[in-house]
Symmetry: D2
Subunit: 208 residues, 4 copies
């Protein structure tokens, strides 16, 4: 390995880069706006993805279930978030909010994973197998939300045997204390590296 | 179903009830002692297990890997907690610390799950299959630590399709803010119910 | 439970009911035609699904990955079947062959699982979680092929803790000896019940 | 990669090398004896393990659940094989039959996986994670039985994204037609390579 992120073994997991989360008129943007602006979320997500592409790291899109008519209706016990989505129709299929943000469009060579129903991009999807078919052992997890989908995807990744990197300012949450929980209280117990976009970019440049 | 916790479908997951966590001279007791005493951890764990037994809910022991010589030594990337255990030998096999606390001893009919290597009792173990062989769809998760093993086990349980109940005062953590993160910030996004021992006991009594 | 297949806990897994497998001009029909006609495949699949609906058993559609441009192209090691599909474009998205056979169309209340990439309907999909959200513990697995997707889906189901029923004449394979392997050699080691459509229909009628 | 089995990415999965299967007075030896002698099972298993060690391939022991008092007793639906083991006590803990055969003893650097309850060494165990922590992407699966544990472990391996090699004469089964089913009917649909001990040894020698 020529550095910390060998492009033959490392990938970026881009979690839920939907307009509903990231665009000015997105349904959930008002709830993440405060933290997102504070950390410079969009700039940092763009920078990580661009640096990843330059360094030869493959980008895996890890999308949340796009809401469809009937979703969760006949489930025995949808979780609280799913119950909310049943009302709010976040990430609805066929709507602008359920499309990827214009700055995070899949390109040739990217991999788009099956939609996850809850928080972990690994649960009930093909993410683990798709990573294996590309020889990936190290994942850098960015996107939304720090304490839900990013954290569950990362907790699962660690349990499954992956090396996990979190990027403090390439994610956001509803409240600053949720960022604190994700990066100061919980992340240090399971993540192998917790870094910033700036530090990650330096490492990636040394890699390639 | 005759109530919220039908004994034919509900179980208690008792996570890591080791002396190292719970006994006066346990290796990690000093780190959890403050919160444990504050919430009345041992009394509440005892009460939940006793009430569960009375109501006919099966108890599943969900134990952390007991440290053995050589553990993690040749792994490519043990997580931060595993690296610490490699030094501290927490829950060492053959030591008092790696035994279940005297008040949480398996009884006839209890199920003892394979040891988990990290945080989730479901990851790399037989927990999901064993629950299915008993028809369990609802789990009440108690034990340690609130923001690591309890939270990961619960996040996994929800993703796998289980109904999840957290009990605020039948768990503990290193710091009060970790309890806050587990029960006020994160739990409400994935757990179906977050309750207290008192309230749970009332529900269980109505069940049986 | 009021019989062997309590509708509250039992479901039918309908695996890969595509035109490419089942229709006169399907790409793979010529390869399964001999066995399919011999066992009366289509009549029996129709009968099992109809009886299932009448008895209140939910139908889960378990579809193979519909081939899309680029599939498997950059994988490190697609399996032999996937390599063949890369050339043959079986179940291609947007073609007749990639549509469900007219007699096996989803109806209200049916559940459509995410597409599986290889043989097991449980691998890399949401099948296990969706079954749990409907309280299912017993699965009747029909469709194609007896020794590949039906067998892998059933082997996985058993490992995951489900009760598994195979139906000898509601499946088919490329050769009679593959049927023999599935139902006489391998099935008896993992399946809880191996039956025929006629016998199953009698049991289901007694159930409802 | 310097050949087909890069020692940094390849491993041997040694499945169920118990005395009950392999020793003259083993409980199941009489049932596998005919095929085992015909293919030269013990010699070939020894040769593959030795060549693997010489070439730097790590050996993973993948052991079946050692029977313990009470096993399967309160399960809702043990599978047919588990029901038989409940009577026969195969691989009983603390007996000779439940020990590894003298010629297949773990050595320094080998990895011993948690016991599997049914057929697949991946199901309900830590095998996948342990392989990942050693960077393994290619597995050579040997041991017993060809159409049950070897086949299920291999089907699971493929689904999880591994490259799978079967070795025709380093496994056995109860009947020749089960070997035929494993290697001529089913294996070719999921295994990436089906080889013989001789051919494998040549490849491994070229590797190192």
């Amino acid at each position: 390995m020529t550095g910390t992120y060998d492009p033959a073994r490392s990938a970026i997991l881009l979690v839920d880069p939907y307009n509903d989360f990231l665009a000015e008129n997105g349904k959930i943007w008002p709830a993440v706006r405060h933290v997102a602006l504070e950390v410079g979320l969009l700039d940092h997500m763009r920078a990580v993805v661009a640096a990843g592409r330059e360094s030869g790291l493959r980008i895996f899109f890890v999308p949340h279930r796009r809401w469809r008519e009937g979703d969760y209706e006949d489930w025995d016990h949808p979780n609280p978030t799913q119950q909310r989505i049943r009302e709010s129709h976040s990430f609805a299929l066929g709507t602008k909010g359920g499309e990827f943000h214009p700055d995070f469009q899949p390109m040739d060579g990217d991999v788009i994973i099956q939609e996850h129903w809850a928080q972990s991009g690994f649960a009930n999807t093909d993410l683990d197998m798709r990573l294996k078919q590309h020889g990936i052992t190290h994942v850098i997890v960015i996107g939304l939300l720090a304490n839900t989908c990013i954290e569950s995807t990362s907790r699962f990744a660690m349990e499954l045997g992956y090396h996990v990197t979190l990027v403090r300012d390439a994610t956001a949450a509803f409240k600053p204390e949720m960022m604190h929980a994700a990066h100061e209280l919980n992340g240090p117990t399971f993540a192998h590296s917790i870094t910033t976009t700036d530090a990650l970019l330096k490492t990636l440049r040394n890699t390639s």
